[in-house]
Symmetry: C2
Subunit: 535 residues, 2 copies
């Protein structure tokens, strides 16, 4: 049996474009002699389609697309689509062949946690699906179905020799290894061949990492697709036999390389799928904007990235020199716009209102907002998408200016803790072609430079401490008392929790970014803004 | 039997404060001789608690609060709380009495549509709850349970004579009448007394309207609580008998009065529950800012509302005079800040970048962003919450500037179509005390005044047409073809749909506002930003 795993990169809502991707993949698999091709979950609609699923005509369009794909299926292909029975809809897989739809099976486990809302739309399937091919029994399943051991066991007991799964499995750091280990266990425990096809590409805050696999009954990974790139993986095996063959075995990707790949993929797809080619971002001389610029160059090419330096009276001399060095290393355009004239004008306009009051965060935010306004003016004039450069540590504690440094269509580092920003910068500097982020940027003390001699360390705990507390509080929902018991100073824990909760309103108005942790700010964490709970 | 319906206004997360509200209500009901008191759904946590429910210690704190409330229950009281059994949690009602928890029942129907995500957290209850009081059988249920006719029928067949329901039923225009009609039908169909207690107050984008009721088996509304205000409704009836008595029968509230009440309640609670006392808003001389100012005065008092006029070179003379007249009529402070100096400074700074290009939306947005920056500066300096004044019509089609007129902590008119803005302004002007919104503001043609002689009508269809199309497209998910078949010009429909879809990224970064329609922009409508579906 020759199996093809077609990990394609559809766009949500682009049913016609996605249909073309599916048809091309099936044709290519056919040319290579595949007798069975797997396409990802909901590949005709894109994933997740969210409230498009509430539109009757959207479901209708997706059903017509399935007919079109099925009509072109000479060999057997599994295609993810939305099925409709009476007034209920299902997350479904169509088994196509002989140029028509042969069978339809429904997803049984509908995730409704984390980023998932599948119970909002779908009715769960009630039965195990089985299909026969060349004398062997196959069990087609969908995503979450394979994470629950019962369904694979049921398939094995029903005599299936091959477990098939089509997925749209969102990435977070380490998820690839975790998922592959689960799949190996599932194949071995049930003594079955397993063919798993995962979606690839970015969709709003989610990235799908591909890495489709074929696994033997003894748990050997026979074939593996690329990470964060479209791929057509071909493998040969005989159901019932122990050994298989494939020329396609992409290397395992993990650590900083995996995170960096996810960020490049998520950023690039957001920009392209929303019809943009170019991005603009402020270069402050700090590590966050430097890493964001490097990611943008790797995602879109240097010619499409526009840097803007916006010094103020509080900027250090190094902030300009270091940004110029960065821009040169990356090969991107850079311009300088001063915030001073507009800052002065705003202060003068506000003087009758502010007279007699000490300068405070109001004046600091003014500078950040002039910068945001300048970036958005370039964005509006030239059609460039603005990138916000803030990281997860500062977004957590609200160490950012709403409508200031938070402006933008996308925030690549939104889910990247500051300690990880340094890791990723170091990893990028080690890549072929040499360092791109100047050492001076890596070594300087983090500062917002909004008042004289300001340093992050003056008002925040050291980032390794801050990030550790945030991991417990935000990502694990540990309580204040439990975190203090772990040995963190109570006063610091209280302050971090207080800052995190009171910054919820800012995060609600910030741009989205790529999810790379188990719990990102976004669909993952739905906290009320009006909230008096202490933590 | 003397029943008390305690429609209280808890705050999400404020378990201690909510416990005090519950204890006070139960004590007052006891003083008035009640033998049975109903408190709203999840009144100890506030509703909806969202991802606070993922924190183990939050569940624990709510269980301790229930013990505290139960210990104070001399008579029978129904209290909404989160129950925990092993590692599952339930949306639950505790029947308290004899100073302890007597019974616990679980909500069976968990809404997971619209604004609701209850399947994300809760396990559904499996059984009908029944409780005996003074020789009569009562059936305590929770919110959605009473919307599904089966459960009331099951209770009647099991011999229950009184149906009890504790709710947190979010408001939209007309919901009060719709809900009361359903409750009358439920009582009549099953020949039972019905006592229904609903939550009151604002929580983020939701408003709960109270209007708790006691209904006789013949469908007579014997008692009704206030709309949008805390209330303790007392009624006497004998299970099995046909007649009851109550001195508490608040009038029916509907139409503009109902919507206005919802907006005042939602705005006032957002401001107060988030610890603010004052708000600041821009007064443009247009109807949106005028109505927003009137709502703010009615919610917070004139002394706590601060108006700012920010004319530019394109502002009409009337924009200042009319705003001054409005401020005088409302009794609010108003100041004038010019956008010109900062606008000029920004243009000069951007000149090297913009040279040789025609003025376009970039320059228009600059003015709006200077205004946003000035409002936020006052907000930061004086601790006033900024109100955004945009309406649902312009937010739908993106006729608003992100980080400009969209800045703010709350947007009272976010879910109010422009045609309704006029209705509400007219209604407010008819109230005792005389008109507050000058006739000139009501009569002028809507304009953003961002370029010479700009009028909304130049680039948008007339508002009655726009709003009708948006109702079909946004609120009913009707297709482009269906809307055209209704008689709307195809070119206009296409343009409105295109504008609506491409403005999704802006809406994602805007402040929240009060939901008053069946489908508001917010939790109600979860559309992908990256989305190529045509409509």
């Amino acid at each position: 049996m020759r199996v093809a795993l077609a990990q394609i990169n559809p766009t949500v809502g682009d049913i016609q474009g996605n249909t073309m991707l599916a048809l091309r993949a099936i044709a290519r698999a056919g040319e290579q002699g595949a007798g069975l091709t797997l396409l990802p979950e909901l590949c005709l609609t894109g994933y997740p389609p969210e409230d498009l699923l509430l539109k009757e005509h959207f479901i209708e369009d997706n059903l017509m697309a399935l007919e079109q794909v099925a009509a072109a299926c000479g060999h057997i292909a599994l295609v993810g689509f939305v099925d409709r029975v009476d007034d209920r809809i299902y997350n479904a897989v169509a088994v196509c062949g002989n140029n028509r739809v042969l069978q339809i099976h429904h997803k049984r486990e509908l995730p409704n946690y984390g980023v998932f809302d599948e119970r909002r739309y779908f009715t769960p399937g009630e039965m195990l699906g089985l299909t026969e091919l060349g004398g062997s029994m196959l069990a087609p399943t969908i995503c979450e179905d394979i994470w629950v051991p019962d369904h694979a066991r049921e398939a094995a007991e029903a005599g299936a020799q091959v477990l098939l799964n089509i997925s749209a499995s969102p990435f977070h750091a380490g998820k690839g290894a975790e998922r592959e280990a689960m799949l190996v266990e599932r194949a071995r425990d049930n003594n079955m061949w397993l063919a798993y096809c995962n979606l690839v590409g970015g969709q709003d805050e989610l990235v799908f990492d591909g890495r489709s696999v074929v696994i033997s009954p003894s748990g050997e990974v026979v074939a593996r697709g690329a990470a964060f790139a479209e791929d057509l993986v071909i493998a040969d095996f005989t159901p019932g036999a122990k050994l298989g063959a494939s020329a396609d075995l992409a290397p395992v990707v993990d650590g900083a390389e995996e995170m960096y790949g996810a960020l490049v993929s998520g950023l690039g797809d957001y920009v392209r799928k929303n019809g943009f080619s170019d991005v603009v971002l402020g270069l402050s001389g700090g590590i966050d904007s430097a890493l964001t610029a490097a990611l943008a160059v790797d995602a879109l090419g240097a010619a499409n990235v526009h840097g803007v330096m916006m010094p103020s009276r509080y900027s250090s001399a190094g902030s300009i020199d270091d940004s110029v060095a960065l821009a040169e290393a990356l090969g991107i355009e850079v311009r300088e716009l001063s915030v001073e004239p507009a800052f002065e004008a705003l202060l003068a306009t506000l003087w009758p209102s502010f007279e007699g009051r000490e300068p405070d965060v109001a004046e600091e935010n003014l500078q950040a907002r002039v910068r945001g306004t300048l970036l958005m003016a370039l964005s509006n004039k030239f059609g460039w998408l603005t990138l916000a450069t803030g990281n997860k540590s500062e977004l957590s504690v609200g160490y950012s200016t709403l409508y200031g440094d938070m402006v933008g269509g996308f925030a690549p580092l939104k889910d990247v803790f500051k300690t990880r920003v340094y890791e990723l910068a170091a990893w990028r500097n080690e890549q072929p072609g040499g360092p791109v982020i100047p050492q001076a940027i890596i070594e300087k003390a983090p500062s917002a430079e909004l008042r004289p001699d300001q340093r992050d360390a003056d008002s925040l705990p050291p980032y390794p401490v801050l990030d550790a507390i945030l991991r417990h509080y935000v990502e694990k929902d540990d309580s204040r008392d439990d975190i203090v018991k772990m040995g963190f100073p109570a006063a610091i824990v209280d302050r971090v929790i207080h800052l995190t909760e009171t910054a919820e309103y800012k995060r609600r108005q910030g741009p989205m970014g790529v999810k790379i942790t188990p719990k990102a700010f976004g669909k993952d964490r739905r906290m009320p803004v009006t909230n008096r709970y202490g933590g």
